[in-house]
């Protein structure tokens, strides 16, 4: 055994076959680490399939709170023969391969730096799990038991996790616990520990939660008083509305059982956004949730929402494109499309939550913004945030009044004696609206996607058209003052700034620590919304080189910023892109920044001779 103990700093990847029940084992492992007080991040790298295809799950435990995916794999659990030949090369030197004993290593495979533990999983399952029907599902629990023994996890914590996990089906608790104990016993009797990885209890997760962004956004929507939801199932956004339905069933019915909301599973995304716009037009807080392919279909209605000025909230849980792309992999690939979705001159506010807390609070802000600005507002998350377990502090309860925007009722119309739907009365380019059903002779107006004047009358007159379009442009300027402001960590004297947003933020502290260690010490600008606020130009002015970090091939945010800030400032911009569909890791980003800076990280220097994979990294 190695002399050096590495405590509470390990990345574990589990290779299994999907549909085999591996997800439950993975969650049990993640939650055991979490409840032992060690910060964890868990990523499910799954196929677009129900059963039979390879799937991987990574769990990272880090005493330093680095919970983004780690580029290097410390322990690889191989339970999928199909991918074994590739998996054996994924683990780094000094790492561990824990594999089913019967798997054959590829001919010529010889990596003395990798520690191997051969475990007869199938044989153990055959002998120790009496119920043949459950055997396949429980085999995955064996690896949990072996890791408990190997890493020194607290089985009592695991016992509680399993008990909670199966609270709905208590019959499953005992078989799962005993499968775990079979693994523990075998490891104790047969494994000689050769690796340096240990887990010890600490207290860095006290009071924290593990939750998925789709659940957090669903909760945000429910607490925002969302009343109409229309959706079409699509990975990775489906669980957002499914969570909403589950929460609303419990918490949004009156004492007599009536619902204070309606959910429609529409025939497609065109109808989803249509229903949301119809509801928004009639005054309801309405939302839909989708992913890139759905966004493409919604383009036509998005333009109507913009031009006719109708509130709507759209969640875009981004996945890898183009086209069907990789439906179960993550990307920030819809930035450019959403920003100007639809034909003609359109632009849409986007907000970028970067944590589970922000998924909750910014979802609520989105409804206020949409009604205030009378326009579709896009909440941009992605598969990594939406479907993976992220650690978070409990969400703050927001109790301020909803902002329902500028809506005139019958009494107000009576007092005003005049109403023109598209006139800028207040000078902020946001007009007043009335809702259908308002009982007053002045209330009615005609909503249309065709040319209209300030009185909402049909027009093809050049000056009428331009007047409305120019006001819409000014309304977008008003939006700058209302959208979530950026979070800036300025380092005094720093020449270099980093700019990132959304799920990338999860690895940015680690990335910056790596850059600090290499001597760069950059400032950090966490962008939280489009349109950009005035802080952006100030940040660019204050730094010599600004790295725009994002998860797509083309530097979509980089382009949006370049369009906005003008040629002088945009000459300072650099682009770092991560786009292979895996959740972004700190090392890939810091290496890319250092490379462009003409510097080298310590890790890169020591590995200079080793061939590095840079697929999907630029």
């Amino acid at each position: 055994m190695s002399a050096k103990r590495i405590v509470n700093d390990v990345s574990i990847q589990v290779a299994t076959v999907n549909g085999s029940g591996s997800q439950t084992s993975n969650i049990v492992l993640s939650k055991t680490l979490f409840r032992m007080g060690i910060p964890v991040g868990a990523k499910n790298l799954f196929p677009s399939n129900i059963a039979g295809l390879p799937t991987w799950y990574t769990v990272r435990a880090s005493k330093d709170g680095y919970v983004a995916r780690k580029k290097e794999i410390d322990i690889l659990v191989c339970l999928n023969e199909m991918t074994f030949a590739e998996d054996v090369n994924a683990v780094q030197d000094g790492g561990v391969l824990l594999h089913e004993a019967s798997y054959k290593f590829p001919a010529g495979w010889d990596r003395p730096g990798v520690i191997r533990y051969a475990v007869p999983f199938d044989e153990l399952a055959e002998k120790q799990i009496p119920d043949a029907r459950l055997r396949k599902l429980l085999t995955n629990m064996l690896y949990v038991g072996i890791l408990i023994e190997l890493l020194g996890l607290d089985f009592e914590v695991t016992r509680q996790v399993v008990t909670d996990q199966f609270s709905g089906k208590t019959k499953a608790i005992e078989p799962n616990l005993s499968a775990i104990q079979v693994g523990m016993k075998w490891a104790k009797e047969n494994l000689k520990k050769q690796d340096p990885f240990f887990i010890e209890k600490m207290n860095k997760t006290q009071g924290k939660l593990l939750i998925e962004g789709n659940a957090a956004c669903a909760l945000g929507s429910m607490f925002a008083g969302c009343t109409v939801v229309a959706w079409y199932p699509i990975t990775p956004s489906s669980s957002l509305v499914e969570n909403f339905i589950d929460f609303a069933k419990e918490h949004r019915h009156t004492a007599d059982g009536k619902a204070t909301y309606a959910v429609v599973q529409a025939e497609d995304e065109l109808a989803s956004i249509g229903i949301v716009l119809g509801a928004g037009w009639a005054g309801a807080r309405a939302m839909t949730s989708t992913a890139g392919p759905g966004i493409s279909l919604m383009a036509e209605f998005a333009g109507l929402g913009y031009y006719a000025e109708i509130p709507a909230v759209l969640f875009d849980v981004q996945r890898v494109g183009p086209s069907t792309g990789l439906p179960t992999r993550t990307m920030q690939g819809d930035i450019r499309e959403v920003s100007h979705l639809s034909h003609g001159d359109t632009c849409h506010p986007m907000i970028f939550p970067a944590s589970m807390g922000e998924c909750f609070t910014m979802s609520q802000e989105a409804f206020d913004l949409a009604e205030r600005l009378q326009t579709p507002v896009f909440v941009m998350t992605d598969l990594d945030m939406g479907m993976n377990l992220w650690m978070t502090d409990p969400f703050p309860y927001v109790d301020k009044a909803f902002d329902r925007g500028k809506v005139l009722n019958a009494e107000q119309l009576q007092k005003l004696g005049k109403f023109e739907r598209y006139r800028d009365v207040d000078g902020d380019a946001i007009p007043y609206r009335t809702l259908p059903g308002t009982e007053h002779p002045l209330a009615a107006y005609f909503t249309r996607g065709s040319g209209h004047n300030e009185a909402a009358g049909y027009t093809e007159k050049a000056q009428d058209y331009v007047r409305v379009m120019d006001r819409l442009k000014r309304k977008f300027d008003t939006a700058r003052t209302l959208v979530p402001q950026p979070e800036i960590q300025a380092v005094p004297g720093a020449e270099v700034g980093l700019l990132a947003f959304g799920s990338t933020d999860l690895c940015m502290r680690e990335c910056r620590d790596q850059l600090d260690a290499a001597g760069l010490k950059p400032s950090y600008y966490r962008l939280r919304a489009f349109p950009f606020t005035t802080h952006l130009a100030e940040f660019l002015k204050a730094h010599k080189r600004i790295y725009v970090i994002e998860q797509n091939r083309d530097g979509q945010m980089f382009d949006l910023i370049r369009l906005e800030v003008g040629s002088e400032l945009s000459a300072k911009l650099r682009s770092v892109r991560h786009y292979n569909g895996l959740p972004v890791d700190a090392r890939s980003l810091s290496d890319a920044v250092l490379e462009q800076e003409g510097m080298k990280s310590k890790a890169a220097a020591s590995k200079a001779s080793a061939a590095q994979h840079h697929e999907g990294m630029d």
Partner: protein, 346 residues
């Protein structure tokens, strides 16, 4: 004696004059069937005493979809995108259950680009009146065939339509639409009571109104011309609609009259013409339509009705108060609820 004061303008049961139900001046071609439908709609809504402030007028794109600008000038209107008015209507009706939704679509808007949304609107049984102003032709783009053009019908210039038509009434019946009617824009006597009954019906009421296009589809060889429709129109019954009344005082001849009671107390009175026709028998209705189509006859009247089918708002089991008007107190769960939910994520 002084000169007599002008007679007061006639008002309906809500005290509104007919003018309130009128809209802007039509910009359609003179003689367009759609304008007759507009006139009949104004009359039906006025006479029925529908509250104009509670009406939402909805349409898609096309000549027909322009017409909501020509009636009910005091009602909110929404001219949506092509073929997708059904989704807008669905959302509006969910947000405000108190709205009377009147949708106007065309044959292109419904049977081609909007086919998917139309089917799902019917399937969900959204409570609204849905008119198809059906002329078998694309007017605004100058005369292309639509999907409701009869096979063999001739375009201006002589080209015959090679494809089978889509019969929106038959389609709606296969989707179990609770109110399916067909009429002719030139038949006010039939159309007005159908419009009244369709508005009163709870659920989706489809009326496919054959409405000749005076400019692009009114020539010899067209099966949607005025002359052709007049010659081939075969009304199933003489129809009347009686508003809800505290007491039914009219006597009906049970042998020749069928009465359909609507949930709000209104009654549809169908008087036999020359055959027995039961509009509550869907299978019979569908075979009547099929037979008529093969015989080259245009059956008009109330084809099928099921007044008891649950509509979307009923299925959604929502509170009575319109969803849009719910307050923070009614829609935002308490802090304790948030804490309880979050405790499940430890």
């Amino acid at each position: 004696m002084t000169a007599a004061a002008p007679p007061p303008a006639a008002t309906n049961r809500l005290g509104f004059t007919r003018d309130v139900y009128k809209g802007g001046v039509s910009t359609l071609c003179a003689g367009c069937g759609h304008d007759s439908i507009t006139t009949n709609l104004i009359r039906a809504l006025f006479e029925s005493g529908v509250n104009p402030y509670k009406v939402a007028k909805l349409s898609g794109i096309g000549c027909s979809s322009k017409t909501p600008a020509y009636f009910l000038g005091k009602s909110h209107g929404f001219n949506a995108v092509h073929g997708r008015m059904p989704s807008i209507a669905t959302g509006a009706k969910l947000a405000n259950s108190g709205l009377t939704c009147v949708g106007v679509s065309g044959d292109g808007d419904t049977a081609s680009i909007g086919m998917g949304q139309f089917c799902h609107l019917v399937r969900r049984n959204v409570d609204m009146l849905y008119l198809i102003e059906d002329n078998g032709v694309y007017g605004l783009t100058k005369g292309q065939f639509s999907a409701t053009a009869d096979q063999g019908s001739k375009k201006k210039g002589g080209a015959a339509n090679p494809f089978e038509l889509i019969d929106c009434c038959e389609l709606a019946m296969t989707l179990d639409c609770g109110f399916v009617a067909r009429s002719f824009s030139g038949d006010a006597k039939q159309l007005v009571p159908l419009l009244k009954a369709g508005t009163a019906h709870r659920g989706l009421a489809l009326i496919d109104v054959i409405s000749p296009c005076i400019t692009f589809n009114n020539h010899e060889g067209s099966t949607k011309s005025y002359a052709y429709v007049k010659d081939h129109d075969k009304p199933l019954h003489a129809i009347d609609y009686v508003e809800p009344q505290p007491e039914i005082v009219v006597d009906y001849d049970a042998g020749t009259t069928k009465v359909v009671d609507l949930p709000d107390g209104g009654r549809i009175i169908l008087k036999k013409i020359d055959r027995d026709y039961d509009p509550t028998d869907k299978v019979a209705a569908m075979s009547a339509l099929e037979e008529a189509r093969h015989a080259g006859v245009l059956l008009t009247g109330l084809l099928y009705v099921d007044p008891k089918k649950a509509d979307l708002n009923a299925i959604a089991n929502m509170v009575d108060k319109p969803l849009w008007s719910l307050t923070e107190a009614e829609t935002r769960p308490s802090k304790a609820v948030l804490e309880e939910i979050l405790s499940g994520y430890r």
